[in-house]
């Protein structure tokens, strides 16, 4: 039997790796890749809490389905923004995207 601590430790490590990617990457698409890693680690947590708690309560699985929907929406809008910025400014480097800075 796998203790709950293994899943929580793995998801904490995956979250930290995703956070590192979000903070350190230059490319806007790579930043979104880091966000995906963080969302996945949250999903591991939700599903393992469902399994190790009362399994007749489906809240953990339902929340992770909603996280799936939010991730799909976030990726669609985020990549559309990146492509739109690339058309106008010819760059996807996050430091160069400063149109809203004044």
């Amino acid at each position: 039997m796998i203790p709950l601590s293994w899943y929580l430790t793995l998801s904490a490590a995956l979250f930290s790796i995703g956070l590192f990617g979000v903070l350190s990457r230059k490319n806007a698409v790579a930043i979104l890749l880091g966000v995906e890693l963080m969302l996945n680690s949250v999903n591991i947590n939700l599903v393992s809490f469902w399994r190790y708690g009362d399994i007749t309560q489906m809240a953990g699985q339902v929340f992770s389905i909603i996280v799936f929907a939010v991730a799909a929406a976030e990726v669609a809008v985020g990549l559309a923004l990146v492509i739109s910025v690339y058309r106008r400014r010819n760059t996807v480097i996050a430091d160069d995207i400063d149109m809203m800075k004044w």
Partner: protein
């Protein structure tokens, strides 16, 4: 050490290794492909946790849709993909320290929790998790409102993505 634990350790090593490749590799197409490996490992974890529906949804939505969308986005912004400069910004060591502190803080908080090492309850024979999940998603007593709000969110994101990425020329 049981066979489940061995499978978990192998899958965990694959997830963490490929996640590190996602955030460090220079070629963005390779990063997107490593992301597929990570997502597949997470799907195996869902199967280990008896969440069969979520394992399938992970493969279909994350690998089949989101990862492919990433590969398309990398192709559409191709000039930057060949950029030979460093892919990490100048303060990457600060980000590494913040990430390590986050990991240490999370583990430190979890260590103080009395149920941290609890074992899973028995999975009852004939227990239909997928059926319960389906009922919970459409039952007015449970989660029908968040479910519908999520569908409205997806519709809004679809319209917004088409509008933002539309080429007006």
């Amino acid at each position: 050490m049981t066979i489940m634990q061995i499978i978990f350790l192998i899958v965990g090593a694959v997830i963490l290794g490929s996640a590190l490749m996602v955030v460090t590799t220079g070629n963005l197409v390779h990063a997107a492909l490593w992301l597929i490996v990570t997502l597949f490992g997470v799907a195996v974890l869902y199967a280990l946790l008896n969440a069969s529906f979520l394992a399938v949804v992970q493969v279909v939505i994350y690998i089949g849709a989101i990862a492919i969308l990433f590969i398309f986005a990398v192709m559409l912004t191709r000039k930057e993909m060949r950029d030979r400069g460093p892919q990490l910004n100048s303060a990457w060591w600060l980000s590494a320290i913040i990430a390590l502190l986050t990991f240490g803080g999370l583990i430190w908080i979890l260590q103080g929790w009395s149920d941290f090492a609890r074992l899973p309850g028995d999975f009852p024979t004939g227990f239909d998790a997928v059926g319960l999940l389906g009922n919970a998603l459409v039952s007015p007593d449970a989660f029908v409102l968040p479910f519908e709000v999520a569908s409205v969110l997806l519709l809004a994101a679809l319209v917004g993505a088409v509008y933002v990425a539309f080429n007006r020329k």
